[in-house]
Amino acid sequence: MFPINDNGMLSGLLCGVLFGYVLENAGFGSPVKLSAQFKLTDWAVFKVMFTAIVVAAVGLWLLRLGGLLRPDSIAVPQAAMMAAAVGGALVGAGFAVGGYCPGTSVAGLFSGRLDALVFIIGVLLGTTGFAVFYGTALRSLKSAWLIAEGDTFTDVYEVPEPVVLVVLGVALIAVFYFGSWFERRGSGTISAQQAVEGAR
């Protein structure tokens, strides 16, 4: 029965190596490619993310259905709506301004980008700043608008999981359809050649 709850070194290294390998091959070491998502000229970020979300979500559902995965054994982020909204907004702003997010900055640095190293220093400073200012205000921000009934649409709104998966599938098709439409209208997606040459 899964999960096997292996949180050791080899499990971490294996998942990380595969994650980093895919991130760089998707083009996500390049801040030009990444920030083009917000300019709506290259939709690779959302196409890749939504595809991965649907593949993993359907996979988890099938594993549970087949009795291979224990129910309620997978970590789900707590339904703290205020924290998700404010945190999401700040990470999005940081992504747009800096050209990376915490994970992709590692892919950026290890494809040779020194600006990614500076981004990582910024992440460490931002984390330190949060810890320094952690008190009543941040604590209440993190617990505001908390949904007590549960963390998933199935738990809180009693939407059956297959329905959630179908909605996600439709959203995935929409991301590809409208994303490709925007890409044709815009200045074109960022090729590996352009990414390696750097922002101009």
Binding site: V17, P31, I74, Q78, A96, G99, C101, P102, L114, G198
Partner: protein, 176 residues
């Protein structure tokens, strides 16, 4: 654009198509859930590093800190699953970039916005993302990607605000 630029350097292999990359990422994420019972992440490793380095440099202050204190109660969190995972990300990205001819040392964005402005934009962006990730309890990987795959409501709220704010910010500031 010159002919060589248009046709490209044959040494540089193209990126994977988004659908293929997305399926691969989804399978890696599924493997991660099956092995570790949680998803992929990144900013958590930064938190572990800050807590671990803090424990070395300022042990008393770190232990007394409301956020970091509980994390160092059982010793340094460096060596956690998340820190090994992020080391793996570095190795995997290096392998991919090298084998595809896409490794090039550069300060990306220096030519488009200028060196000093690029250094400020990337530092500020990192700060915002690092601070924001601690509020949300994760970043694009941990909450946006893994949380959504686990069908968490907060993950979709995170993604919506991530996208909306990112679009606005990219119109106000040219950071790259």
């Amino acid at each position: 654009m010159s002919t060589s630029e248009k046709h490209g350097n044959p040494e540089i292999k193209p990126f994977w198509p988004p659908l293929a990359a997305g399926i691969a990422l989804g399978l890696v994420l599924l493997l991660t859930f099956v092995l570790s019972a949680h998803g992929l992440g990144a900013s958590g490793a930064a938190t572990d590093v800050v807590a671990g380095v803090g424990l070395q440099l300022a042990a008393e202050a770190t232990k007394a800190n409301g956020y970091l204190g509980p994390m160092v109660a059982d010793g340094s969190p460096i060596g956690s699953w998340m820190t090994w995972e992020i080391l793996g990300v570095a190795i995997g990205a290096l392998m991919a970039a090298f084998t595809a001819g896409r490794f090039r040392v550069q300060l990306d964005g220096a030519r488009s916005v200028g060196t000093s402005k690029r250094l400020i934009s990337t530092l500020a962006g990192g700060f915002l993302a690092g601070f924001g990730a601690r509020i949300a309890g994760g970043c694009t990987s941990g909450v946006g990607l893994s949380g959504s795959a686990a069908l968490g409501i907060s993950a979709f709220v995170f993604l919506a605000l991530f996208f909306a704010t990112g679009m606005i910010a990219s119109r106000l500031v040219k950071g790259v």
